[in-house]
């Protein structure tokens, strides 16, 4: 049975003890397995050797400005919610070398990363949640619209082909989650329904006497990998349990984001007094943009060695919360925290729709948990859209720097 081929869209049952076969099959197929791992006080994403590296028996407790690991009563592999890191850590690394230039007399020549060495490695992401599939798709869309070929941006060491994606159903939500509002989770829908196409869907049932998973292939290569994992056809009840699990998670979701007319958010809220109120709390620390799985802003850094002969161009994460982000000779356009928080929120929830055809927020809640002062976009949005003092554009005179 282990070698019988698996069919796409068919739900199988897999013993928890056979999770190792998923890793070994991926390794045999030349994939580097990446997933959640306990590190210090948080669960982060790193290379995993096998199931033993997963945060077995750990969960977390999250609130605005708060994230704490908690021991679970069971031995669940995926019993945690999202940590501070998202998969953009690997898909658009924090720092990437774009090219290197060498001076040759009065001129210079440019070498591109392909020629800098390093072989391509295929990545497999283990434990991708529904909202994260959506976030990967949102970032992909940004590159698509820019017309920038993805491989132009990626260091030779990193992704060349689309990573192998193993999705996991969320058996519980954190208090910071609001994926139901954004239509991105918690169920792992059919491939492409709300996010990027993926390969395998896992749902975990961590009971003490019968710890098991359901596994379903969502792609050809997903079926290939699943073929090598010991499994049996799931019963009807076991199939129902998958849906029940995400239904329960959805029903218990505590936060919600309500925005009927995203296209109007920007225009309607521009001079809202609430921006000043948020600005009085916001530290402009940029944590929210760093943890956000969709924030894509980057900076280009041109560096050179001491001799000035070898220069490099690096692409690295940037944030609209930095003062010099909007720098023009003479002064930055967005001088105040008020204007920077406004840029972030109206872009994420409003103008993103016009630019990329979707919201820029997938409801993962990371920016809520990791904001040092607990600023919560669902609450700020409510204040911005519900309060009566929406003033609209004030056509006043001002002097630009």
């Amino acid at each position: 049975m282990a070698t019988l081929s698996a069919d796409i869209g068919v739900t199988y049952r897999m013993r928890a003890g056979d999770l190792g076969a998923l890793f070994s099959t991926l390794h045999a197929a030349n994939f580097l397995t990446i997933g959640p791992r306990l590190s210090g006080e948080a669960i982060i994403l790193e290379e995993l050797n096998g199931p033993e590296d997963l945060p077995v028996g750990w969960g977390d407790e999250q609130e605005a400005g708060r994230y704490r690991l908690r021991r679970r009563a069971d031995q669940a592999f995926f019993g945690y919610n999202l940590g501070p890191e998202s998969w953009k850590k690997f898909l658009t690394p924090q720092r990437q070398l774009l090219w290197r230039a060498r001076r040759q007399g009065a001129t210079f020549t440019i070498e591109q990363p392909e020629r800098l060495g390093g072989g391509p490695q295929q990545l497999a992401f283990i434990g991708v949640r529904a909202c994260e599939l959506a976030a990967i798709r949102v970032q992909e869309r940004v590159r698509e619209v820019s017309g920038q070929p993805a491989n132009d941006l990626i260091d030779a060491k990193c992704r060349v082909a689309t990573p192998f994606l193993v999705g996991v159903t969320c058996a519980q939500s954190a208090a910071t989650c609001f994926c139901t509002s954004m239509g991105t989770g918690p169920a792992l829908g059919p491939p492409g329904s709300s996010g990027v196409g993926y390969d395998l869907a896992l749902t975990e049932f961590p009971s003490e006497d019968d710890h098991h998973f359901t596994i379903e292939a969502r792609s050809e290569r997903g079926a290939d990998i699943a073929s090598h994992i010991p499994r049996q056809l799931a019963t009807e009840e076991e199939c129902d349990a998958v849906r029940q699990q995400s239904d329960t998670t959805a029903a218990l979701m505590r936060r919600h984001l309500k925005l009927d007319k995203p296209a109007q958010l920007f225009q309607d809220s521009l001079e809202h007094p609430h921006w000043d109120e948020v600005a009085s709390r916001c530290l402009s620390c940029a944590n929210c943009t760093l943890v956000c799985p969709t924030c894509f802003c980057t900076n280009i850094e041109d560096t050179s060695d001491l001799s000035g002969d070898v220069a490099e161009r690096w692409l690295r994460w940037d944030s609209c919360f930095h003062l010099d982000f909007s720098y023009l000779h003479g002064g930055s356009v967005r001088q105040t925290t008020r204007s920077r928080y406004r840029q972030w929120l109206t872009h994420k929830l409003g103008t993103w729709h016009e630019q990329f055809g979707s919201s820029g927020c997938v409801g993962c809640g990371r920016c809520i948990a990791w904001c040092p002062v607990g600023i919560d976009l669902t609450v700020e949005l409510e204040a911005l859209t519900l309060s009566p003092e929406v003033t609209g554009v004030q056509t006043g005179k001002y002097e630009h720097p």
Partner: protein, 300 residues
């Protein structure tokens, strides 16, 4: 989530231009325009295809080991050379200005939207430039000269801080066409104004003194049928638009070139965002009706 929605991308980006890797160009000429501004002429050093730039577009110029900045094309030579007019304000612009003939720099581009000259055929045209804003307008002026008969009245109005701060001043007389030529070519009005004239230069200055918009009331006779192209500091453009609207020029026929911090120029780094726009891709040239609601809000 509906990611399948069609997106209104203004133009198809050419994959050849669509990269962070610049092409190497070599300086083949330099013209000093003012004390702090030079025009750099350059040819491609890689024997590759010529850049096909349209008036109003810009390139990202890279100086080895220093950095990269957006600079408008101030002309494209018939021999395929690129002309950029650069004011030295900081590290990269200074390094560009210091390049000597024979030295190389990197070019990515051309990027952005252009002045919609073809769609203005049949209209009268006002060109309004403040300071260095004349640089991205010069290729448009060259088009107006070349296809003069395709347009109605043409007026070019330039403002500068002082007579010594005028750029391209030696070309003004070539642009100016007083009366209908013997050949029947139509006239072009060129007027220049400066904010102030230093005492020692007073005797030599016969032009106007005052803000550039003060030249407008005496410009063209058929504003309803006219279009305007403006480039200069944002404050100046804001005032100019009000004056042009007052003259009777329609919002959708007023075009302006905006400036924002730019790092990638391909709609990817986020730096140049202005509400829904990426100024590098959806601009820098916008019609006023597309940005009217954005220009009156502080710190967007």
């Amino acid at each position: 989530m509906s990611l399948g929605l069609p997106i209104n991308v203004q133009k198809q980006v050419d994959p050849r231009q669509n990269s962070f890797v610049p092409r190497v160009f070599t300086v083949t000429g330099k013209t000093r325009e003012t004390a702090d501004t030079v025009t750099i002429k350059a040819h491609s050093g890689d024997g590759g295809v010529q850049l096909e730039a349209r008036p109003g577009q810009f390139n990202m110029l890279y100086v080895h080991g220093i950095g990269e900045i957006p600079v408008s094309l101030s002309a494209v030579g018939s021999d395929g050379s690129l002309l950029h007019t650069v004011r030295r304000v900081g590290p990269v612009s200074k390094a560009l200005g210091n390049l000597r003939i024979g030295e190389s720099f990197g070019v990515r581009g051309p990027y952005g939207t252009h002045w919609p000259l073809e769609s203005l055929h049949g209209r009268s045209v006002i060109v309004l430039a403040g300071g260095l804003g004349l640089a991205p307008l010069r290729p448009a002026i060259h088009h107006l000269l070349k296809f003069r008969d395709a347009f109605g009245e043409v007026g070019i109005y330039c403002g500068a801080r002082s007579p010594a701060d005028r750029i391209f001043a030696s070309e003004f007389s070539r642009w100016q066409r007083e009366k209908p030529h013997a050949t029947g070519a139509k006239s072009i009005q060129v007027r220049v104004t400066v904010d102030r004239v230093p005492d020692q230069a007073k005797a030599a200055w016969h032009g106007e003194i005052g803000v550039v918009t003060s030249l407008l009331p005496r410009s063209i006779s058929d504003p309803v049928n006219a279009a305007a192209m403006i480039c200069g500091p944002e404050v100046m453009m804001r005032h100019a638009v009000q004056d042009l609207l007052q003259l009777g020029i329609a919002k959708e026929h007023i075009y302006l070139s905006l400036e924002r911090n730019m790092k990638c120029a391909v709609g990817l780094c986020g730096h140049c965002q202005l509400s829904r726009y990426f100024v590098c891709r959806d601009g820098p040239v916008f019609s006023f009706d597309a940005v009217e609601h954005l220009l009156t809000v502080k710190e967007l």
